[in-house]
Symmetry: C2
Amino acid sequence: RMIKQVLIGVLCGAAVLTAGILIGHFGITMSSAPSWVKDVAKDVDESLIEKFLSEVDNIQIQENLRSLTKVPHMATTAGDEQTVQLMLKRWQDPETGLDQAWREEFMVYLSFPDPKKPNKVTVGDPSDEVLYTAREKEKTYTSDQDDPEVVQPYAAYSPAGHPKGKLVYANQGKPSDYQLLNNTVDLRGTIAITRYGGAGRGAKAINAAPYGVIGVLVYTDPLDINDGLMSDINETYPHSWYMPPSGVERGSFNGQFGDMLTPYLAAKEETYRIPAENITGIPPIPIQPIGFEDAYRLICSIALGNLFVSIPCCFILLNLNLFSSDVKLDIFNYEEKKNSSNVMGVIKGSVEPDRYVIYGNHRDSWVHGAIDPSSGTSVMLELTRVLGKMVKQGKWRPRRSIIFGSWGAEEFGLIGSAEYTEQYFTKLSERTVAYINVDIAVFANATLRASGMPSLQKIIFKAAKQVDAPGLDSTSVYDNWIQYSNRTSQANGLIPNVGYLSGAGSDYAAFVHYLGITSMDISYTYDRSKTNARIYPAYHTAYDTFDYASKFIDPGFVSHQAIARTAGNVLIRLADSLLVPLNCSDYAETLEDYLNTARVKSLPEGCTADLCLVSEPLKRAVASFRSAATHLDQVIRSSDLANETPLTVRRINDQLMLLDRAFLDPLAFPDKYAYRHVIWASSSAGKPTFPGLADAFANAESQSSAWDKVHYHLSVLSQAIEGAAHTLADEH
Amino acid sequence: RMIKQVLIGVLCGAAVLTAGILIGHFGITMSSAPSWVKDVAKDVDESLIEKFLSEVDNIQIQENLRSLTKVPHMATTAGDEQTVQLMLKRWQDPETGLDQAWREEFMVYLSFPDPKKPNKVTVGDPSDEVLYTAREKEKTYTSDQDDPEVVQPYAAYSPAGHPKGKLVYANQGKPSDYQLLNNTVDLRGTIAITRYGGAGRGAKAINAAPYGVIGVLVYTDPLDINDGLMSDINETYPHSWYMPPSGVERGSFNGQFGDMLTPYLAAKEETYRIPAENITGIPPIPIQPIGFEDAYRLICSIALGNLFVSIPCCFILLNLNLFSSDVKLDIFNYEEKKNSSNVMGVIKGSVEPDRYVIYGNHRDSWVHGAIDPSSGTSVMLELTRVLGKMVKQGKWRPRRSIIFGSWGAEEFGLIGSAEYTEQYFTKLSERTVAYINVDIAVFANATLRASGMPSLQKIIFKAAKQVDAPGLDSTSVYDNWIQYSNRTSQANGLIPNVGYLSGAGSDYAAFVHYLGITSMDISYTYDRSKTNARIYPAYHTAYDTFDYASKFIDPGFVSHQAIARTAGNVLIRLADSLLVPLNCSDYAETLEDYLNTARVKSLPEGCTADLCLVSEPLKRAVASFRSAATHLDQVIRSSDLANETPLTVRRINDQLMLLDRAFLDPLAFPDKYAYRHVIWASSSAGKPTFPGLADAFANAESQSSAWDKVHYHLSVLSQAIEGAAHTLADEH
């Protein structure tokens, strides 16, 4: 009975205790945590990153590249449409695709040669008998070059025309080149032959026209691209990565980005278009690119002027028959408005779907484009396969949304990405945390190269440390990189050197300059101790093929794999970290470096009396920025973000996300289309410093009335940097 | 013993149960809710609003006004500094002040008459003997007018000069007035006399100069301001609210807002300034305002030209001595850069301190400024007293931060508020939910008047329904208002008419046009069946005093109280509601009304062939906006926002906050300083529709090449409205 009583007592006690627990747990409902409390505090999962890294497969990338490069896919051609379909199929795959994928079309202004009337470069005698004709197409080494869709080499946006005149050699076609030449030769009515490099493509013609030059040729010099090698018998492709003698770099010869007829407006069918004659920054006279074989023959035989050209075998190429003959260009290029497609895909964010991380690359090439851009597209497709599979299997969904963009018509002037930013300007400005651009993923297989806003530097380093360097045992991409390119940072010691995105070399341009979105661009690149090539030698030629890429650029596709892993690692961290991984103190260091390089210290020399004091606000602004960055970093360190209200981390994340937006000034550069970021705009200054200020200084040296512009840019900069400091600060 | 056992059992059971409850409640820590879960879900407290309404005190407002109007407080004078100190003292009061208050100075370009050489208007005979001199100062009725700090009537930014010539009467100084006059009179070398109204102040001189007019006078006609009454013996102040015969409206004669030397830059000491000769929009010839007594004498005696002036007693005023004499202006105005102060105060938000609701009013007046602006300042001080007390007592802290701005130098061209928006552009753009402007709080005591973005309409209605109409039994401000001014809305039925902020009449201008911040402006105003006065008759005169306000505008200060209650109610709701109370469907209705009023339907008449189809995108954009608004409202209705993750309501709030920002285009109006909002920009169209498009249509009627501009604005608008629709939509 005693036992029974005890047993009953214990059972009753247990029951009462259980009831109590239940009441305590569920009864006091006010204090039980809603299910979302855990979700909103979740940080990036390191084991998921490991899984991602292990799943990125070099052979998949290789096969992606093989599929993408079957046929040439110049923008808006049938081959381009095949790649659109390929992207859509992959991104809509029920097992490895994204949440959604679709195409978006823009009607954009392009320029093509006429397949029925190919452009010609000939040498004729006075009676117009043709003595010599330059090649119309590149020489065939593999069947790729025989594809009828290989576009003839041409200069996009060169006007049509038939100029004829004496040939003059004008070096790189820089203003100084024409000026020098004009001292000894009357340039009126001449055709100038120039080599790539030194000046922008279109600039070679724009610089020439004021001297009366009526046509321009451009070629790639073997010293600039082939480390001097020239022979296709045993030196150039298919024997190596070097450019064969008939290879020609195609390209867009316009000077701004985005569709030229619809500035600041998305190029829809009914959109207002400026008259074509109002377009600026395109060649005013016909220009045509040719191979160095033809170029050398022309230069050695007939070019006038300063002939200190390092052509070792000029005496062999000399053709006395041609002497004193005229060169004639017959250019039949025409412009056309055509529909170009972006392919877009999205993985919707779980906790903050209204925050975007964008990853993009263009899809269009000049010919087969194995390296440019399909190396990047192959990497992007492998990223989306691995991430898409995790999403479809229900194993993962990022905190923020990830948007993938496969841009169209980049080769004609970054058109697809620029139109995208124009159409979605507001939404992208408000919601985008960062943009990652991987265009050419692999230029060469030696080392990582990265450019971007300084705030992204640390997350790139973190990612690069977790990836094995291709072809090296137990060395990380980071450890390898720091050996090739490094600098000493006051705060961070010896670190790899991350470049700045101050130009418009790829699709990051509209994101950086027009939208002010924190951006980066990465690739694998050269060992500069082994080559001086301006760029990989098959760039924009008919030799940029799968064969070329797989044999000479990245056999085994391990550098592609390293880029996919590094870029993907950064992407996941940007999308999934509780705290947006952007470091504002590293931005402060860059502004301080800029200030040290800027000539504000020596302002009194040559400046007007009023102006001598006005550099103080810029110094104060940089100091404000540093102090706000230090404070915000302190707040971050001392916060327990996972346990505070999610509005606290959202607030800090917004400060970091909007930091670059604070540097936008739509009126600071009235002559530079869509350049609004006062820190990263392009400039003629050869060194990293405030671009508008540097250009204003340069002008003030020659014109004392231009000191006003220096003062103006000091005020614009001070206000923008103070504004960025306000973005980082809490106070009102 | 039995009892004892039972007692022990019960006690043990209770102890075990308690232990269980404690274990259940605290032991299972994973699921216990953090303390902030309740805070982040808190909505506006209706009982707090009731308490606020009951505490707003008319006598406090009266005493505020008495203190503020002791002396004249024109911008940057000693009187202005007294009001700065008053604001700071109140806002820093430990018991009824704000969390923080401080002053911010800008060095701004102002224009003053010279006290040592007063401006003169005289009539002289050919030998320069002075036959008649207009009054230099207004006549004294109360001691207020004797204050030596009463500034002489003048036209700010009129150049100095001494023009002399025949007088011509030019009606309102509109372009059409001068054109008509020019048909019968050679205007070269004349002085034009004009009346206020019809054209902007400065425009009366700008329009005159091309005809060779060398000086301008301007006066306020009794028909426009006094319902025709003219005699100070028994009709005008101090017998009524009407303007005495010597009363003169002062004013700024510039045409843009903000400091004119520092466009788009905050006017700090070292800021770059444009050369003063590059300023546009100011009078190119001297101009001076005078009283109607002097004006009538001059007009009746000597004015040439079209004399169909309704001056009933012209024969009495006729002075034959003056006949055929010249009028001479001696204007000694000078410009000076002076420090002007904004006084800022803040109540820091509890949950979302990084979201701002801004409430502002200017502090500077022309003379004593009892109505303009001190009626508004008195109301603002009462608001901050009541809210500040609740904060200091720990009874309340708003969810979002509230910023109060007491702007300087508004009368010279909205300068203080414009410089503030330039200095803090980034932060304000990113974080401001809405701006509330209460400048003149009470024009008259008949009815509420409100203007603002349509998205604010419903919250103004809600607030107005909770406030008793002054002087009426059991009638709300809303019920009274709807009787005076109403319209029928398709969605909302009969509602009070809320105006649009398409001009730049007060400090909302920079917030609306430059920043794209959702804004409103409210006041108590006239019964239009009782007066046709263009504005309250003492406006900008030496009679706008405490005596005038308390006797004729709002005896008992009950209309002031009603404005304080209504504006404060809106302010609390904007700052404290869980969901930001902005209604996007009401915005859609306005865009649809705009579209119906725009001439896009009749586009084919006169348009070029290409253009006839291009209005479709605008129609589609308005439809997209409507559909996105309907969807968002649906999402809001179907959400349980208080119980979802706070990031959900934050996302929706961001969509609503940023809606107006989507309509900004910094390039749409290159000729209109700081006008960027494509829906609300000023326009010459007399009706509410898309401003850029309406102006382009008007030009295209006279010039067929201007159809391009119509097409351009159609594209700009379509893209902006689509962008706003994207802001409201979730999808990517």
